[in-house]
Subunit: 284 residues, 4 copies
């Protein structure tokens, strides 16, 4: 490295697998003096798709190589993204009355571990206003009834005015309208308090208790039109026993929810999550 | 202990919770010089039921105190069992073509860790005959088509002629008839190769792959009329990733299946599993 | 229950095992109309000790039966405690610069899940003053150098003036003097950021990285004169890989530390932790 | 694919990290029509080393490209291996009296899941002769006292005469001499029945019980001159409680030992384990 600025960037690639992709990408970077810092690849034997994530650093910025990379990607039919690392993406957090995930996200954000910048919080309740405002965060109370559309318009406004790319549903107990979901494709992460696909819908810990499972879980996933059916980003589980009545499951589950949601947000922000149809490729 | 024989026994109790149960049972044992070696209780706040398991030892056998205990239990409306410890219950194992659970059960049996005696193996295939016979076990080939009833009659015959109390479905890929299930209530344990209630039915690892879950599991449960819906005894899980194609899930899952099934059999044999409606109380 | 007040209490017992203990305790409670809500027992085959925890409710308070229970316990050489449930015990939290455990404890306390009341926070730094004071908590800056004794005297003062029974070292990076440890026997819980007994002392995540372990952990334990050698209350672990450099281990470990410490504090507060020499009996 | 034979091979690379390595390797493969099926890389920020594993397939065999690859690797100071996939490497298993790991390895081998061919079993006892011979395996009784050297010479003979590359210590309770260890550098895997570095040496489950840990583990590692200090390949853990006396820990631990050892053998056989000083890089 000389006196030039050193840029850090991250590239993601998805395309049909064939001979020469890795060679082309790696040669592209090496010819420009860009050094690979992390690299992960996945050749899906099932459907013949190829996935790649490369973090690299060197004298050129993501913007400076974008046009060249487009030329490289074209013959491979690449679906690719190229972004600057270091500038954390902005997110908006939606919360209802249960604030454990919000509280956890706030602490990680403040200490720099979230991988993203929280730009605002939206809620259908006032419960967490004081906490958020103490942290210097705008807190927007949403109208959800009778005019749900107004509340949802407000969410889009807040996302747009803050330049946020992601909406994080941190135990936001409202179902989003199909219209909002459509506008937030791959831009909205939800935490569901069960080990999906078990126990979709309401009161999953009570469902889990009734079924008598010996292990409970939490799932972070992208929101799609099908409730609790979107691509899973991360899951975690904890052993329970007959002694754990539903309230105990709620309590045990909270730690899982916090950990799982925070991981999903960070991995998304660091471009570690690539969509693979209804599944995800997560390059941890 | 003097020159008398020392007997080991185990008592299980299920009844409506009320003041005085533990006192009555503990006093009963202590007055007879029976010393408690393990004791577990569960007061279910949800439905007001009480569950208890006591392993004890002393000068009197289970048989010697049975009549007295019946008198004690009656006013409490106790559903109870009282059995000798030390004589391991006999079981019959049913297997199809995948022999990993069978192989694991055989090893645990031979080394004394299973908590039960395998009395015979039944199968709709010949694959595991040589292995079983080398272990000195009778191996019964079952007819399953066209005359499924004949095969099932044979299972009951083998259970009865060997004095076995439990049928263990160790990846036996046939669905039992409602008639057989009815005759084996709480006497038949199945291993299902998913983290139930997710992925019931056929090819659960392929279902899990298609859904993109990040954790897979296995479940041992009592067989009931509703396929894969019986009371769960034990579950275990393992983390997987996008790299794990369905065959890899099959491979990772095998270890889970072996461990979970062996635990369920041992806990059942040691009277650690009490039924609680559609759930189980497991005093590990 | 009639118009009388209903009291909830918890009893713990430790004594040499012999016939009649459970009977005596259960009869004592039942004769007074006290109904058992949770009961756990452990007969240690190794050293012949007996451990018991009973949560019960009824017309008499813990204080009202204390004298009677003393008479019962005497012939059994019982080491016992009898306490009111419902009044949460007070604790003081000590923190240094890393605030993740403190932040987690504060959230659990505020939402009622901690099982204890935080009465004050002490620290050798100012970092967390604003946060604590915003939560309405007294924050005491401790002098640790050159006059460590003054700082430690202050800790005792705060414990005493707030009526707190427990000091929680939530990543408090100072080693306590033998004198302070002696005064806080079984009243001081520490979180150590390794899977003890591996990696005692400083920078355990760096030690773990250097050794190349594939799983890391965190341990909550009572503080004794031997650094990181006190009785373990709880541990948790997480899988890591060669990709996780020491800073990544630090990050992964934080979630473990929070969960493990919070459990230890709650279990201690609910009298679920009984000492068994250098080990603990934890009735979860 | 034309009428040519299709070869499958695996390449591992370790060298100082610098720009151009991935490009050179990927271009080498793509120019020869070799298609990448699995690829993993690791850039160690700590010491600037680079690790890579590539499984590929195409018209050329590993042997056919070896000379060319040597020319490529030289300027990068690569430490590399290039091997045919599909021919499973041969291994020798050493066992003492506890046969659970042996039994598990036999089952995986027979069903094709081990990734390696067991060529022979050596032991200082006769316990497992019948089992091994029933599986068609040569079983060599080793003399270990008074002439330990003779026994060890026999091990080397068996390895050499069977063309085996790896010695697997499947609960072989003898300490190998420094001379033997020196001859088996990176060719000998041991299973230790604790979560190393905790509880090295004898009776680790008893040590774990005495320390009162809440989680136990097992560790597979390469054998080096320092007992239980070699590079760790894999570890697994299971939660235990105060109820688990040392014999219960032994029993719980057996499942961990089987799983961990089998994984280590398979990963080694599939060239997924690269040495990184005292640590390993494991490309799962």
């Amino acid at each position: 490295m000389n006196t030039q600025t050193r840029h850090s960037s991250v590239l993601t690639v998805r395309c049909p697998d064939r001979i020469g992709i890795v060679s082309a990408v790696a040669t592209f970077l090496s010819q420009r003096g860009l050094s690979i810092e992390e690299s992960d690849q996945f050749h899906d034997r099932g459907d013949g798709a190829f996935y790649m994530r490369v973090a690299f650093a060197g004298p050129l910025s993501a913007d400076a190589i974008r046009a060249d990379f487009a030329a490289l990607g074209e013959p491979f039919a690449m679906d690719w993204t190229l972004q600057t690392l270091g500038v954390k993406p902005k997110i908006v957090v939606a919360v209802s009355r249960h604030g454990h995930c919000l509280s956890d996200l706030l602490h990680r954000w403040k200490t720099g571990w979230l991988g993203a910048e929280i730009a605002a919080v939206v809620s259908n309740h006032e419960d967490w206003r004081a906490t958020c405002e103490w942290h210097g965060l705008p807190y927007h109370r949403l109208e959800v009834a009778p005019d749900k559309a107004a509340g949802e318009a407000r969410i889009l406004e807040v996302l747009s005015s803050t330049g946020s790319e992601l909406l994080v549903l941190a135990r936001y107990m409202q179902v989003l309208s199909p219209e909002l979901v459509a506008q937030l494709t791959n831009r909205c992460i939800n935490i569901h308090h069960s080990f999906l696909p078990s126990f979709k819908g309401a009161r999953p810990y009570h469902q889990a208790h009734a079924r008598g499972v010996k292990i409970i879980g939490a799932t972070a996933h992208y929101v799609t039109q099908d409730l609790d059916e979107g691509p899973i980003i991360e899951q975690a589980v904890e052993r329970v026993s007959h002694r754990d009545h539903p309230e105990a499951l709620v309590e045990i589950g909270r730690d899982l929810e916090c950990t799982v949601l925070a991981r999903a947000v960070r991995w998304h922000a660091e471009r570690r999550v690539l969509l693979a149809g209804q599944r995800t490729v997560v390059f941890r």
